[in-house]
């Protein structure tokens, strides 16, 4: 095959590929957020402190890059702080989740109510074993 024909075939393939593949920019900076959620869901005693540290760095990085933090990021970080006994920080972050994503308001309000109230244990505290 001549070099120019080869180029045309390659271009054709590229166009076909582009047809399937629209380029799109991610909405959020994910970093290792999914991994942190996985570690928490495993219930294998992952250290909240190292997660808090990594997530705070992630937040700084996102701010520097003018990128949005994903849904649930603030909520999860708040839960980690609550696990460490820092209820004020949890309240601040859950309120932040609600302000950033109004769709979360019904659930966040429930959690905040439980946090300040005397009702059932809030998320982040251990339920009955």
């Amino acid at each position: 095959m001549s070099p120019s024909l080869r180029l045309w075939v390659a271009l054709g393939a590229a166009i076909l590929l582009a047809g399937c593949a629209q380029t799109q920019k991610p909405l959020y900076m994910w970093d290792t957020f999914s991994r942190h959620q996985y570690d928490t869901l495993l219930h294998e005693g992952a250290s909240p402190d190292s997660q808090i540290q990594a997530m705070e760095q992630h937040a700084v990085k996102a701010q520097g890059a003018n990128a949005a933090l994903p849904p649930g990021f603030r909520a999860h970080l708040g839960m980690l702080y609550l696990g460490n006994g820092n209820a004020d920080k949890a309240r601040e972050l859950w309120t932040g989740e609600m302000e950033t994503f109004p769709e979360s308001a019904p659930y966040m309000k429930q959690l905040l109510k439980r946090l300040s109230g005397d009702a059932a244990p809030a998320a982040g505290e251990k339920g009955p074993a």
């Binding site: 076909l16 999914s34 979360s104 339920g127």
Partner: protein, 219 residues
């Protein structure tokens, strides 16, 4: 030789676009217009106990990038636990109105993991994750969408375009340098293939996507 290779490659690419099952009926989905999704703990039909956390934690990213608010799965997990619900099976049996009351989500995502993990044989080992999902409207109970996908270490990792490709790359990048279980990696690829949007017969883009409101992908 080269000629034949390029021809074959073009056919594979073309084939990737052309082979299509019957189109999903999006009437319910387009009427419901969900904005927030509650991903329920995935029911695990595989012998690997890490299937539920693996698939659950990987489900948020494709749905959030598709333009939905996804309720934080770790808090949802704690909420279930503090209410005495410890298994995915029990959680998935909760009546829809109760979920709607507590979580306030528009729709819930019910995932089942059919295969998860690595099987070893004399010649080669294969890590495989197979998932299926349904999205139910929590207000009406309507089925909005369903689909299935898999990922396996046995396939050639070919270049994949669009958001699915981007998400798969993100999963792979996340793994490099981390000692981790292979099932988690392929769970990420399988969930991206299952729920990233837009895709033929896939989940429709949600309100936070620039593609929201566009007609379903027809090719």
């Amino acid at each position: 030789m080269m000629h034949r290779f390029i021809l074959a490659a073009s056919l594979i690419l073309l084939g990737g676009c052309v082979t299509r099952p019957a189109a999903w009926d999006y009437t319910n989905f387009q009427r419901a217009k969900p904005a927030s999704l509650l991903v329920m703990p995935p029911v695990n039909d595989s012998p690997d106990v890490k299937a539920t956390p693996g698939v659950w934690s990987q489900a948020t990213q494709p749905l959030a990038e598709a333009g939905y608010y996804v309720l934080p799965v770790t808090l949802v997990d704690e909420t279930f636990r503090s209410n005495g619900v410890y298994t995915a099976h029990d959680a998935q049996s909760i009546p829809l109105p109760r979920l709607r009351d507590f979580f306030g989500a528009d729709a819930a995502v019910y995932i089942k993991v059919n295969k998860y993990g690595t099987s070893y044989s004399v010649l080669a080992s294969e890590t495989r994750v197979e998932v299926e999902a349904r999205i139910l409207d929590l207000r009406s109970g309507d089925l909005l969408w369903k689909g299935s996908a898999f990922a396996t270490s046995a396939e050639q990792q070919q270049a994949q375009g669009g958001l699915v490709g981007l998400l798969v790359q993100a999963v792979v990048n996340q793994i490099i340098g981390t000692a981790t279980d292979a099932g988690y990696t392929y769970a990420g690829i399988a969930t991206a293939r299952l729920m990233a949007a837009p895709k033929y017969n896939g989940v429709l883009p949600g309100p936070r996507s620039p593609l929201y409101g566009q007609p379903p992908v027809t090719q």
